[in-house]
Structures are given as structure tokens and as C-alpha cells.
């Protein structure tokens, strides 16, 4: 009896040891590698990045957007300033974060010298820009170095991402369609100066148990 107990304990212990040994971490570079993982309840970084890169290539050469930028520069002697607005989220994920799309597009547009980007207003604003002006009341600061009031540049264009996700089920199959839309609008007149849409999708087939 004792032998059986010892044997059983050894097998269980060995099994646990093996199972523990199976766990692994594999590092990958999202700019190079693809996991191919897709989930119907949330949107992967890969999907967002794919949309962002394709949109970035489009916005740099979109005729109506370029026309707007050139006209603005001719009339105002400077580049238009972009701010972000809230994402329109029509997916199952209430915490959807599309920062990848926003940041990639902003970076590409900013580096191309087509536009300026503001962090003083919009969804991506930082309080520290306004707060920095408060230090003029602190005697420890040289007042001539404090940012002056009335010098912040207001945004001229606003970017709004929109994501829609739909599911269709038929028997053991489930098709998930995503529709990404990126709008850039002229704040002065409200007209859209750039629009990009991209559908993505995948099909999952249910196994014997669960998805």
C-alpha cells in the first residue's frame, strides 16, 4: 500500500514538474512577426497596426487632404494643427484602445512636415502644458522663462477613428467582420478632408467544446 502511495505521489509530482516546465515566454517584434491571433471580443494590436500603416500611406498622398494642407499654408503661413477626438467604438469591447492608429498616423503626418500636432487640446491633451504656466507664481522660477499666456495654438483639424465589429454565426462557424474608419475634418468648416475605411475579418470554427 505504501509503495502504491509513493508511486502515485511520484507520478503526480513528476507530472506537475513537467507541466511547469512546459510554460514558456517567446519574445516577438510586432513590426516583423505576426501571431495571427484573433479574438471576436476585442481587437488585436496586429489588426490596428495593419489599418494604421495602410491609412498612413494613403493620407500622405490623398489629393483632397494635400489640397487642404497647401491651401491652409498659403492662407495662414503655417501648417495646420491636428488634435484627436474620442474614438467611435461600436465593438464588444468597451475598453477598446486604438492608440496605435492615432499614434502611427500622427507620427507619419508629423514627420512628413505636412501638419503640426497639438497636445494642448483634444483627447490626447496633457495637463502639464497648462500647468506649466502656473509656475509664474512661484518665486523660485525666472519669470522670463515661463511660457506666456495666449500663445497656445488651437487645432485646425481633428482626427476621429471609428471601429465597428459584427459577428455572424452559423452552426459551428463564426465570422467576425471589422470595419475601421478614419476621418480628418476641418474644424473651421466641419468638412471632412480625409476619409479612409478598411474592412478586416476572420472566421472561427467551433471545436467539440467551446470556441
Amino acid at each position: 500500500m505504501k509503495t502504491i502511495k509513493t508511486l502515485t505521489s511520484s507520478v503526480v509530482f513528476g507530472g506537475l514538474l513537467l507541466a511547469t516546465g512546459c510554460a514558456s515566454t517567446q519574445i516577438y517584434d510586432p513590426t516583423v512577426d505576426r501571431t495571427g491571433l484573433r479574438n471576436s471580443y476585442t481587437i488585436s494590436h496586429e489588426e490596428l497596426r495593419q489599418v494604421a500603416l495602410e491609412a498612413a500611406n494613403q493620407v500622405l498622398i490623398a489629393p483632397r487632404f494635400i489640397e487642404y494642407v497647401e491651401k491652409f499654408k498659403a492662407e495662414n503661413g503655417r501648417r495646420p494643427t491636428l488634435k484627436l477626438t474620442d474614438t467611435v467604438n461600436e465593438t464588444n469591447d468597451p475598453d477598446l484602445n486604438v492608440a496605435v492608429i492615432n499614434d502611427v498616423l500622427q507620427e507619419v503626418l508629423f514627420n512628413s512636415s505636412l501638419i503640426d500636432v497639438t497636445l494642448a487640446e483634444g483627447t490626447g491633451r496633457t495637463q502639464s502644458i497648462g500647468n506649466s504656466r502656473l509656475v509664474e507664481f512661484d518665486d523660485n522660477f525666472d519669470k522670463s522663462t515661463v511660457a506666456k499666456k495666449g500663445r497656445l495654438v488651437a487645432a485646425n483639424i481633428v482626427m476621429r477613428p471609428k471601429v465597428v465589429s459584427n459577428e455572424v454565426r452559423d452552426g459551428r462557424m463564426k465570422a467576425v467582420d471589422r470595419f475601421f474608419v478614419i476621418d480628418i475634418a476641418d474644424i473651421d468648416r466641419g468638412g471632412v478632408v480625409f476619409k479612409y475605411s478598411r474592412p478586416l475579418g476572420f472566421v472561427k470554427t467551433r471545436g467539440a467544446v467551446g470556441w
Partner: protein, 146 residues
């Protein structure tokens, strides 16, 4: 003997039914006046070279003054064995790298690897826009996806 011939014919018919590829038509007298440029190639994967024909490289300034490039390619995976050996769509990964006037690579999100799936016989375009006005040279890396 008759049965063997019938089986062979049936197998061929079934096999040919599996092969579908893209046919293409276009206007013969073109209105466009693209700027074709000479290209230099360095091949390490002969299979990829034989399966994906690079037809031409076009280079032109975009409306905003940035350069843009388009490499046109056609999937030659149209044979029966090509399609039996792999999935119907040909998965290609590609990456554009842009260089400034000093020959330095400019790192931007546009330099990431991207994916394209090509139907047999389909003609596709790999396009990229220079990240800044200082970039006038490019390199395209292509590889088969898995």
C-alpha cells in the same frame, strides 16, 4: 484497362476543376504616362522569384511633394501543383525602407513588414510613400509568408 483510363480521366478532370486563377484584361492603348525606373535586384530565394514576377517599378512625386513608389507584381502560382503544394492565396510579406540624401535609412512606422495575400494570376501593387521630402531612394524586401 478501360477502367484505368476512366479513372485517370476523372482524376485529371477533378484536378483541373480545383485550379482557378485570375484572368486579366485592360485597355491596350494607355493614357497614363508613368515614370519607370531601372531596378537592381538581389535574389536569395529563387522560388519566390519564380512564383512572383516583378513586372515594373514606377516612381513619381505625390501631390504633397513626397516621392511615391509602386512595384507591380503578378503571382505565377497558377499551376495545379503550385496550388496543391500550398494555400490558394499566396502570402507575401514586404517591407519598404527609405533613405535620405546621405544614404541613411529613415526609420518610420512605414518601414514595418506588411502582408499581402495574392490570388493565382492576380496582379498587385506594392506601394509606399516616402516619409519626408529628404527621402528619394528606397529598397523593397519581399519574402514568402508562412
Amino acid at each position: 484497362m478501360k477502367l484505368a483510363k476512366f479513372a485517370l480521366a476523372a482524376a485529371l478532370a477533378a484536378a483541373s476543376g480545383c485550379v482557378s486563377s485570375v484572368n486579366t484584361t485592360e485597355n491596350a492603348d494607355k493614357n497614363m504616362t508613368p515614370t519607370h525606373i531601372a531596378d537592381a535586384r538581389f535574389v536569395t530565394d529563387g522560388f519566390l522569384r519564380d512564383r512572383l514576377a516583378l513586372l515594373n517599378v514606377r516612381f513619381s512625386p505625390a501631390p504633397g511633394g513626397l516621392q511615391q513608389v509602386q512595384v507591380e507584381a503578378m503571382s505565377l502560382r497558377v499551376g495545379f501543383w503550385d496550388q496543391v503544394a500550398g494555400p490558394d492565396r499566396y502570402h507575401i510579406r514586404y517591407k519598404f525602407t527609405w533613405f535620405d540624401n546621405n544614404g541613411m535609412a529613415v526609420s518610420t512606422p512605414l518601414s514595418d513588414w506588411q502582408d499581402k495575400w495574392i490570388l493565382p494570376g492576380e496582379t498587385v501593387q506594392f506601394q509606399s510613400v516616402a516619409p519626408s521630402r529628404q527621402c528619394n531612394d528606397f529598397r523593397l524586401n519581399l519574402m514568402e509568408g508562412h
